[in-house]
Amino acid sequence: MQPDPVIFTPLLAAACTIFLWSCYRRFSLVTVGAAEDRFSNTWDRLQAMFVYAFLQKRVVKRPFGVNHVFIFWSFLILAVANTEFLISGVFPAAKLSLLLPAALYQPLLFAFDLVSLFALAAVVIALVRRAVAPPYKGARTGEAFAILSMIGTLMLAYFSFHAAEIALGHEPAAHVMPLSSLLAAALSSLSPETLGTVGVASWWLHAGVLLFFLNYLPYSKHMHILAAIPNCYFKGLGTPNTQAREEFAEGNVYGAGSIENFTWKDLFDSFSCTECGRCENACPAAATGKPLNPRLVMHDIKVNLLANGAQLQRGGVATVPVIGEGEGSVEVDALWSCTTCGACLNACPVFIEQMPKINKMRRHLVQMEADFPEELLNLFENMEQRSNPWGIAPGDRGKWVGGHEVKPFEAGQTEYLFYVGCAGSFDSRAKQVTLSMARILDAAGISWGILGKEEKCCGDSVRRLGNEYVFDKMARENVAMFQEKKVTKVITQCPHCFSTLKNDYRQYGLELEVIPHAELIEQLLGEGKLQLDMHEATGGNIVFHDSCYLGRHNGVYEAPRKVIAQATGTAPAEMPRNRENSFCCGAGGGRMWLEEHLGERINLNRVNEALAGSPGTICVTCPYCMTMMEDGLKDRASGQTKVKDIAEIVAEGLKGRA
């Protein structure tokens, strides 16, 4: 009942040829992208690939991911079975049971039998889940159901073929195939002719679905089967929030306004996406009804590449714009909705980098088209002209000091530079945090100084908003000043300053030891340098809100929690979305300076979550979070709940305070 190799061999050859050709055509499209080095650190990359692709460390972070692990590993194990299946279709003698000793092939056949059942069960669960509780609205696509059904059919065909073989007595290894044997027993009443027909039909069904699936892959979102593993290998090893610098020279293009302006890795990302929807579910813009959906950003980039790729390869130009309306283009409003919170980067099981692509498209809009929301005109002018977002006189930067005694930073005289930041210098609420920090530093006996009038904005907002040209100027000036003043250790109280000085300025050759205030305070408490009256912070019951640029982008989760626990004697309450799953306040990525016209307000969404636990205080570690949470509380008219920076909570407990 073996099929005729004369019929099967040319079919297999054709299927494989077409598959390889399809793969080549699709994957070669990424070469229209710009160069990017993702080949360094081979060992780290191999490790990442092993942990994230093969062990699926991120996949299992969501409960349903376990089901995927079953399908993935079944797929890997059955790849051996399917290879045998296809080869034996050409060379009937090339069977494991004939080639390998019993000690080897028997466990293998046993595994195939068992794993096929696991895979079948996992596929059925996945089908039911997609039908009953889809991962996101619109996930019930024909493509998704078709792919799951094909995998299910493969398993069913596998069992019915082997059952028929066993029932006919053609399978010498039947005793190691319990499930197929069970089915064979059920089929035993059938005549040998019928069994023969079932066997042949099942074989052809299996072969047909397998070869069709193989050729459907490169044209479906299930291309991730081929792309996701290398994508984990090529993942960003540093902090992916630090976008690459641009070189400003005549004739260059800036950002990505056309598909070929992306790098090959950006384009490869789009092939790795299987539209699982985790980024979409984590995205604060998507959650609040804004036009941004990181999953669709990747989808549109892929559609765009497929539409433009071939003509670009022939030396033509792209005809479908990457920014604009319709499938294959990302909407302008979607690009401006991003808070660069990094939730999408964190959620993606295969390290697709959605947010940096949004930044590249913003760079194009700002730098090539000078096209951006009108609120930003003032911001950009203020940043370039006066080095702060409000356009306040730079000479007023040191005024927060008031009557307090604060030293200027001088290398050799003062150990730390306290980089106050724009909000801490000018925003009346944030200035109170600055004063709290000053008291803490003095109480701990730290040797510190400030730059005062000479301090400049770090440039975070303009960089995230895509105005790389102005950021580049600001960064160069700051780096030159830090080098000239021999600054080596910096204390920050704003996570945006922190991340920019630490990560972005490294691209300018400046390696600073930058310590966010939460970590410094934790350290000081640990060393016993700060004596606190254990007290209940006003209102008691503190809930902690993670800042994206401290938490997700830089991994500082525990320090602020430990500080609160030490300062108040009680660990902070947690919101349902916390630590790496925290929800942005809505102000990152320069959104602080933009009106929020579309959808629900992000800060209200977060404040509602915080208020669910009826906290006395929402503790923040960022001046932007402070503004957004306070504004949200005002809108909710929430009574007694207050927002405090972690430095304020600690400063309240300082012994002998005035």
Partner: protein, 270 residues
């Protein structure tokens, strides 16, 4: 046809301080910007360029460092940037300034017809609003001040209709070209330079004309041509009002004082 924007580089006045001893502006380390009203004049000239294909020229009278303002104009898209700079132009009041600008526009007109000259309604340092009208008079151009909208432009009959924003009312007026128009901020939203344009502007040419080019009577320019002298600059004394508490360091205390005061005068209902 040329459309000309006259721009002035001014000290960024949010940062200007007056020396309490000498009563003069402290200019040390103060950054310069294009007079904000002039950025709208510049923008309108660029829109005319875009819409009608005029050549856009930006003029500025000032010291050599005013080149920065003209370079920004180049980055925004003007075709010609001309700096009117000469020691002899120094110390000018509005009269001699308009003499120089008018002469420069006349010189430009030898090249090609000048259709419209845009100026900001006034500068934020001098605040006189006299230079634009002065140019119009000297050139015999129609004078349209405080314009917030260009209603219509007709090349055949060489007429322009604009809306003037006056106190409490608008006025729609029609005038013959060539015209000198001073603009208010409502007229348009200035553009932002693209990076390729910035880089191009950094290498672009800013032409410098001194008086050897303009050939003006030395008595009509600079200090000599200026009948106005500034005898004293001072901050007006506060006649009324007081500072309540120390708002910077004790905002709550200040707020309490204010509320108490308002309650005492029965200006606040509880």
């Amino acid at each position: 046809m040329y459309v000309v924007a006259c721009i002035k580089q001014v000290p960024d006045t949010t940062q200007v301080q007056i020396d309490p001893v000498t009563n003069t502006l402290v200019r040390d380390g103060i950054p310069f910007i294009i007079n904000p009203y002039d950025t709208h004049a510049l923008e309108e000239s660029l829109r005319m360029k875009g819409r009608y294909g005029f050549k856009a020229a930006a003029l500025s009278m000032g010291p050599p460092n005013a080149e920065a303002a003209l370079r920004k104009a180049l980055a925004l898209g003007v075709d010609e940037a001309i700096l009117l700079s000469d020691r002899a132009f120094g110390g000018a009041d509005t009269l001699s300034t308009s003499n120089v600008l008018a002469a420069a526009i006349s010189k430009l007109a030898q090249d090609d017809e000048v259709g419209i000259v845009f100026c900001g309604k006034q500068t934020i340092d001098g605040d006189t609003a006299q230079v634009g009208p002065g140019i119009a008079i000297r050139l015999g151009f129609s004078q349209l001040t405080l314009v917030d909208r260009i209603e219509h432009l007709d090349f055949l009959s060489k007429k322009i209709r604009v809306r003037r924003k006056l106190e409490g009312r608008y006025e729609i007026v029609e005038a013959k070209l060539p015209a000198m128009i001073t603009v208010v901020r409502e007229l348009n939203r200035p553009r932002y330079p693209t990076v390729p344009m910035r880089l191009k502007a950094a290498k672009g040419e800013v032409r410098v004309w001194d008086n050897s080019e303009l050939k003006l009577d030395p008595n009509s320019i600079g200090l000599k041509g200026s009948p106005t002298w500034v005898s004293r600059i001072f901050s007006p004394e506060r006649s009324k009002g007081e500072m309540l508490g120390d708002g910077l360091n004790d905002p709550k205390g200040t707020a309490r004082l204010l509320v108490e005061r308002l309650l005492a005068r029965d200006m606040l209902a509880v």
